[in-house]
Symmetry: D2
Subunit: 315 residues, 4 copies
């Protein structure tokens, strides 16, 4: 991630603001406000604004005239209770806004979460940055043979080199041709003064999906946690997971009590089906249960054994 | 509107907070933060939190690393442009949270605006305040004879007195019976120690629709303006309009540039149909147009003449 | 529930329609289309339209040119997989529309589910029906002593009679006064020809919260299942649960495969926290776990023991 | 647009369905149900399901037990009234589902309309079709000099040929390399049996933004009209406008009364600001108004003159 001197200055200018407010503040989050936290080779996540803290959840759950409850420990008990019993609306009362730079193919996954406000950098209006995502070697995985939607073993040696060369060459060539069609370079200089450039809204179609875009993305805490639950999960694609992981750290700084409850009742929790519950109850009663008499499908059986950390997985 | 000493203290405690933040602040809005602005006989509107200001709209429209543009006048030009051309997403980047006390029949109208976050005081869990909305005499209108959904002339004299007596008596009696069924008074004291009280979730059904409820209501600026456009309008029911008017004043303090653009391009603007445009163009070309040759329906003709401030309305 | 002869005729007219369509149909649901399924003393649920069936979920999950997959069993496998792995968007591809008559205090709970389309009967425009919900004696519960948001033991004898008398009398009186203020009876006849009636938008405030209202309510299958999960649950208030139960039966007729998966993976399933999982794993390894060494709070421990159907609950 | 014989057969199979239903049907829409209506060089729009017709809007606005009103003319009057006065919820009571094939850079514009349900063909799971959008020569416009977000004069001659060659060559080469990295051809055959292919979720990043994707897209009539208002507009990018135009024709077949009201009150209508209204009123009173004394900005003045079809535009 490279920022221009001008961008660095703009960030620094905001970071030196010292405004006085009657609103609640989150001092840990304030420390990293506006900072560009690096993700992937050229991407970043920046927290640019927020509203509320842990006490705001309590305050709205109680429709209170004042701040939360009297004690932090009471606040904590209530937040845990709300999380455990899936009360959703109090968590909607905190809001956060990020500035994110990310590859287009990841932006397309991300945008499927609709309950957020988005302003994306417009390639109809402006020229995109000359930056593409090229995976590092330890992420060059083959298609999984067991999971049609996942990664398998690492690709190595000559084949890895060839893949990386293709990705770099194709992104570089298509970007060069993008500039050529625009008759304008990424730094805004004109190539041939005697020519008109192709409309930006057309030229952009020549870019590859690993080109970087950026957006402002604003959402409430409930929907942010739903997003992070899905995208920080081990089954999520690596390239979006790394964004989710950085954002999860910002949640920890912002609303530490909620973050802890989220880890216990969501991230580390398991959802067990009615049939799965029967199996567990029977096991606890001392019965021998195996795949054949479990009533579960193969995949479900394996998932349950994994959840329970039992060794007798079905292969 | 009466606040208990405890409530007043809770509000005062929040108003004396002096927190330091790197976030943008709206100094005019800060001045009235947490204050209970009275509406109707017992209701209020309180701004309890907010995120962003006019510059945040510009910042996100430009997907900027820094604050808005360099100059306030440039910010203003851009905000007017965005409002005029119905760009919606930049206005979603500001957020505000209100604490509102309002009669239940108004809450039912209000909640139809779905794009907001709401936490309402729960009458399953707690006892509602002993407060009912009783209209002032200058609001006791008869049913409109021309508009099935509006108010006509004022009701006066004995009939007015009778209406007010009915409203007061019925609300007082049903509330008294609510306490009786609960076996508990509004102040939390038990009526008969030897009896169990009816479940709150049942007893509440005896209350009348002018009982006051309260909620935390949070929304983004775009959806707030949509709400205010409909509810601050002269066709809106008086009892919700007065809330909208108070909230419109808070918008003026919060985002003054957006507020001015909203008045020009929304509140004071008119939407003219294709057929209506034809009429205007023909008039500007010097043609005599009247209802008969206008191609418009009666009601549309009247509405157009009103918009144009022309006298020849069809009666 | 009483329908007027005219309403019965309107329903019958729609039920005799025999239209030809190329769309998929759900024959079991067609059998009860438009029928008023009774709920509570005067309420009902009517399915008035729907779009899609089980095969539509498969079709959209596969972004297919044709109908679902080749075989019903393959469709079933895919639907179960989607439900188990929380894939949400395919279930949004089916839509259903209900006409519901329900008490206002229940409508207020219901409307908190925002992801639906609603048209409610307008009491600004029309006169509400003269019908109020009066609980049956087996629902007259006292406030729960352990759960601030629930019901406890039944209220019986004189106290029960008194509660029922209050509810009937107050609803009848306030409705009578509503007619008086309107100067119009519920059947549309005028009371005193020499008087104007109070505006409907005002008079309605005198009604009690057990008055019946009605609305058209349309939602997609995903959001319907979320609604039913919460409202058909044993912790939901009885008066909304009975609506959810009737609707759940319509889901069974409409999309039987999805209904079965919903029962297994949602309704009958359990969500176990990270700490709860540790307890289960340890028990399965033969360790003696009790409340004291579990690391769980009291309430969580009890909930876990209930889920596992183990007797050693903490009292 | 080329469909495989198998796809054609799947479409034909659905079109020969003759199901009986008690639901309302739209006979004109039924005629083109499932048909792939061609858009751009390889795209299409298919209506795959729908719910309701014009009478459903009336039915829900009246919260009716039966169908719409007695007469079509009464239905028409009500629909026009609802459209003119921005009543939104009744139009949400009709729903439609499309299957769309479109270039990725257009899909990215389209998805910004969040109030819809979407299932997109997954390139993590499957291989994308070998099809790219190449503009026709009459769409090869230069960047507009007056509008930073639009198209200007046509690019012709050698420069046009060069642009088309770039677009074709780059799309072909990057797709070829996509297959090479996948070690699999678009028809599913393996290239080198001794190699593993790169994970699909990675290889896709090499594709250009004019590659075609497809999705199921479902929305209600209100949100569809909002989408069409913006995207069938002359300021919308040509490549999305052609989709909107085809969809507008399907709306005409589906709900002809609503379609006519939409043209009159939305598409052909104009929104005039408070300041613009002052200008019109003054002109109608016979005053000479020009840019200098209008109080409008340059751009606003020009837009108003265009709306009024007056010649004295400011250049």
């Amino acid at each position: 991630m490279k920022l221009t001197p001008e961008q660095k200055q703009e960030i620094a200018d905001q970071q030196t603001q010292k405004n006085t407010t009657k609103r609640v503040t989150s001092q840990e989050l304030e420390k990293i406000l506006y900072e560009a936290l690096p993700v992937l080779d050229h991407g970043f996540v920046r927290v640019v604004d927020y509203m509320g803290d842990d006490s705001s959840i309590v305050q709205s759950a109680r429709v209170s005239y004042g701040k939360g409850t009297k004690k932090v420990s009471t606040d904590e008990g209530l937040i845990k209770y709300l999380m455990r019993h899936w009360h959703s609306t109090p968590f909607e009362m905190c809001e956060i806004k990020y500035h994110v730079k990310l590859p287009i193919f990841i932006a397309r996954q991300w945008i499927r979460h609709r309950t957020a406000n988005v302003n994306e950098y417009s390639a109809r209006y402006s020229i995109l940055d000359k930056e593409f995502y090229i995976p590092s070697k330890d992420q060059l995985s083959a298609q999984s043979t067991s999971n049609r939607q996942g990664r398998g073993d690492l690709i190595t040696g000559d084949q890895a080199d060839e893949v990386l060369k293709i990705l770099k060459d194709d992104a570089t060539r298509t970007y060069g041709n993008y500039e050529k069609m625009l008759n304008e370079r990424f730094d805004g200089t004109t190539i041939d003064e005697n020519k008109a450039g192709l409309a930006r809204e057309l030229a952009r179609m020549n870019l590859t999906l690993n080109s970087y875009t950026q957006w402002y993305w604003k959402t409430d805490l409930l929907n942010l946690l739903n997003f992070l639950f899905l995208r920080a999960d081990s089954h999520a694609q690596y390239e979006i997971r790394v964004y989710a992981e950085v954002m999860l750290e910002t949640v920890k700084k912002w609303v530490p009590i909620t973050h802890a409850a989220f880890l216990d009742y969501r991230v580390g929790a398991a959802h067990v089906s009615a049939k799965g519950l029967k199996v567990i109850r029977s096991m606890l009663n001392g019965n021998k249960i195996n795949y054949e008499n479990s009533g579960l499908g193969k995949r479900e059986w394996n998932e349950l054994m994994e959840t329970l950390e039992l060794k007798n997985k079905l292969i």
